[in-house]
């Protein structure tokens, strides 16, 4: 199979082919990561504006009036607050947490880990990125339309999202662009998921059985299966919503609605149908965001603890169980929605059950630390931070999973604190861990570890200061998606909101350390060796950065699983997956 066409030098290509419409999965992976970097910056700036407004609603935000006509004189109006919130949530969920850990890191690393030259369908891969890019532009365009950006939240509940301009500012072109953007995004992710699945199934190198796949590859593979199903449902849902908006159909809009003094020309639709379709996608989506994190943590932990992951098969089984269960729990977002109260109990049970595999995985990670010889690289720290935050967010999930308690906490800041811990911060920590870990492979240079550690410590404290108090607010009945707290019983919450705002601005500022480190290291970092972390998987057998065809015309042959640490191998206390040596008895058995 070492045919002559697989020479290591990239064939001479035009600039466009090489950097813009590249078919190389590594370039595409970086494009995805760069896109999500732009997206996360945008999303973060939006969250600052929201936080400043929540802390000091009547103070003008310097400069804002000049860029956003909706915020006259720099003071955020209630509708503009909701728009900022909607765009923040949408950008973060779709264009950061779906693209960065899955499409970005996955695209760069997965093929290297299974010893493939590229994706199964490089052209689809390129299309997938550019379609995502278009979706992002369409979403951003919503900022600049006359009726203002959409304000119905990232969940876009009908009928607010379905009836058009009558429903108030943001519900005109802004909302239409939102629906179109998400529909386009679905197409991109479907192409991407299809590609990941086919690649993992068909392009594994010799000896790379399923059982020998690294945990991160497993996680990306499972994520792509979830994504395939989830986005196949969101796309039809968006099409139906779009038709309700522009073609006058009535899928989601019932009869007899009077909005802005106008009897709406719709009849018979079901608002709950949108909620069911949306959450059938929406809950699995949070696992699309977090599963790559599970994989990345499980992949990095052995390398930084210098011992095998505890229960490797169990971890994979847990990820599969979670993926499966994630399709049975969507109703837990709808306990208060007016659906049949009996179904609340039905949805509550799998929701609580899903905590079992999650708890098992957490215990296995913590158990892996036992007796380790831990190297506290920045990547390691973010893994540890991930575990801590995942525990915190997971535990607050216990409350929300019970309909009786959710009837108090639903719609409050408790929910905001919960999903930011599990889905926001934990996933972000997974992305950070992956970035610090694989950066040397991507750019052939090391990131600065001292800056990395500062970045970690300050971020870790910061996120707890932001999101833990939100749980207290929720307990006190503080409602989310409010642009100001003028209700009498919520007025007392303002000081705590100010504290959160200060913490958010601080944590945001800390990310500048990361940006600086990222850009400086890209060009000035220390030159990276092939395998800086003494890790065992295939991506560390090729040069940093890898050549165009990944393994320089070679096809690596795999003899071992990815979990051979703490053994006496020829390179040290681990055995490379492609090392032909036989497995020695594990050190610990002695």
């Amino acid at each position: 199979m070492t045919s002559p066409h697989s020479s290591h030098d990239a064939p001479r290509q035009s600039f466009l082919r090489k950097y813009v419409f590249s078919l190389d999965h590594k370039v595409i992976g970086l494009q995805y990561l760069d896109l999500s970097l732009v997206a996360v910056t945008t999303g973060m700036i939006l969250s600052w504006l929201m936080r400043m407004h929540l802390g000091w609603p009547t103070k003008a935000i310097p400069g804002l009036g000049a860029v956003a006509p909706e915020a006259t004189g720099g003071i955020i109006t209630p509708e503009y607050y909701l728009s900022l919130m909607t765009m923040h949530g949408t950008i973060m969920v779709f264009f950061v947490l779906t693209t960065a850990p899955f499409a970005g890191l996955g695209n760069f690393i997965l093929q290297l880990q299974i010893g493939a030259e590229d994706m199964a369908f490089p052209r689809f891969n390129m299309m997938s990125f550019w379609v995502t890019f278009v979706a992002f532009l369409v979403l951003l365009a919503a900022f600049f339309v006359p009726e203002g950006p959409p304000l119905s939240g990232w969940t876009a509940y009908a009928p607010l999202s379905a009836v058009g301009k009558d429903a108030g500012p943001g519900q005109g072109w802004g909302q239409t662009l939102w629906v179109i953007s998400i529909a386009i995004f679905c197409i991109a992710q479907l192409l991407g998921s299809l590609n990941f699945i086919a690649t993992t199934l068909d392009l594994r190198t010799k000896g790379m059985s399923l059982a020998r796949m690294p945990f991160s590859t497993w996680a990306w593979f499972i994520t792509s299966v979830i994504g395939l199903i989830a986005f196949s449902v969101l796309l039809p849902a968006c099409i139906l919503l779009l038709l309700d908006r522009v073609a006058g159909t009535s899928f989601f809009v019932p009869s007899g609605l009077v909005i802005s003094d106008r009897l709406q020309p719709h009849a018979g639709g079901s608002p709950l149908l949108w909620q069911h379709l949306f959450w059938f996608f929406g809950h699995p989506e949070v696992y699309i965001a977090i599963l790559p994190g599970f994989g990345i943590i499980s992949h990095i932990l052995p390398a930084v603890t210098r011992k095998p992951l505890l229960g490797p098969r169990v971890v994979i089984a847990c990820m599969i169980a979670i993926a499966f269960l994630s399709y049975t729990v969507w109703g837990h977002h709808m306990f208060m929605s007016g659906m049949n109260p009996l179904s609340a109990t039905v949805f509550s049970v799998p929701t609580l059950i899903i905590t079992i595999p999650a708890a098992i995985m957490t215990l296995l990670w913590i158990g892996t630390l036992y007796g380790a010889r831990m190297r506290f690289t920045t990547a390691a720290l973010f893994c540890l931070g991930f575990i801590s935050v995942f525990v915190s967010g997971g535990i607050s999930g216990f409350f929300l999973a019970q309909p009786a308690i959710d009837s108090y906490l639903h719609g409050t800041y408790f929910v905001v604190g919960h999903f930011h811990f599990v889905m926001g911060v934990a996933s972000m920590f997974g992305i950070f861990a992956g970035t610090y870990f694989w950066f040397p492979k991507m750019f052939g240079r090391m990131m600065n570890e001292t800056l990395g550690k500062w970045h970690f410590i300050l971020t870790f404290v910061g996120v707890y200061c932001i999101f833990m108090p939100m749980h207290y607010l929720g307990l006190a009945g503080n409602v989310r998606r409010y642009s100001a707290f003028t209700v009498d019983y919520m007025k007392g919450s303002v000081p705590l909101h100010r504290f959160i705002t200060v913490a958010a601005l601080f944590t945001g500022a800390v990310q500048l350390i990361f940006f600086y480190n990222l850009f400086r290291s890209r060009f000035r970092g220390q030159i990276a060796p092939t395998n800086p972390w003494e890790a065992s998987s295939l991506e560390w057998t090729t040069s940093s950065p890898p050549p165009h065809d990944n393994f320089g015309g070679q096809h690596p042959v795999v003899y071992h699983g990815p979990n051979e640490y703490g053994v006496a191998g020829k390179d040290g206390d681990y055995i490379m997956q492609n090392s032909p040596e036989s497995e020695p008895a594990s050190e610990s058995a002695a």
Partner: protein
């Protein structure tokens, strides 16, 4: 353990089509459940007679599947892949063009069905049942159009060379086409039962 060695390399194109089939099935399952929920939600569902031409269209799309199946180029054994003489492949391609023609005919028939229906006053927005009618037929039609493009592309490739890659792509594309025919039968039955 190692059943997936390079020698007996699986066909990514085929895997891709199977995965695509799974995704498309899932979205039509979503449309179906939306239809059932919407029909049950309110008593405003209007039953109407499906345009008779749909029966003809069903026959056409099934026939296109058959002509694709009988085209021997679509079914060479793994062992024959490499040896299939280019000339023969080119000859068999004619069957493929029959399939493409039937596919276009089907789409034309669907357009006629739409015009028939709209001339009776059933438009996209006029009732929930007609909304779903247009929606399902249009979604299927778009997917089928994609299949036409795919077939055309691989036909072009096979006509130029009979290298095994091209033939594999061709087999994958025809798998997709058969699925399109099956999907139409499903939609047709669904519409017949519900509308």
């Amino acid at each position: 353990m190692n059943s997936l060695s390079l020698e007996s390399r699986p066909e990514p194109a085929r895997t891709g089509v199977w995965v695509g089939i799974a995704a498309i099935s899932m979205s039509f399952a979503a449309y179906t459940s939306a239809l059932i929920v919407r029909q049950g939600a309110n008593p405003d569902w209007v039953h109407f007679r499906l345009p008779p031409i749909l029966f003809l269209n069903t026959l056409v799309v099934l026939a296109s599947s058959v002509t694709l199946y009988v085209a021997p180029v679509g079914r060479p054994r793994e062992s024959q892949l490499a040896e299939l003489p280019a000339v023969r492949a080119r000859r068999e391609i004619n069957w493929l063009y029959v399939t493409l023609g039937l596919g276009l005919l089907f789409l034309l028939g669907q357009v006629i069905a739409w015009r028939d229906l709209s001339s009776q006053g059933f438009t996209l927005a006029s009732s929930p049942s007609s909304s779903f009618f247009y929606l399902l037929t249009a979604a299927h039609g778009l997917h089928l159009l994609g299949g036409l493009g795919g077939l055309l592309y691989v036909a072009h490739r096979v006509a130029r060379s009979s290298e095994s890659q091209a033939l594999r792509a061709y087999r994958a594309a025809s798998l997709y086409w058969h699925f399109m025919a099956a999907l139409w039968v499903y939609i047709f039955v669904l519409l017949a039962v519900r509308i």
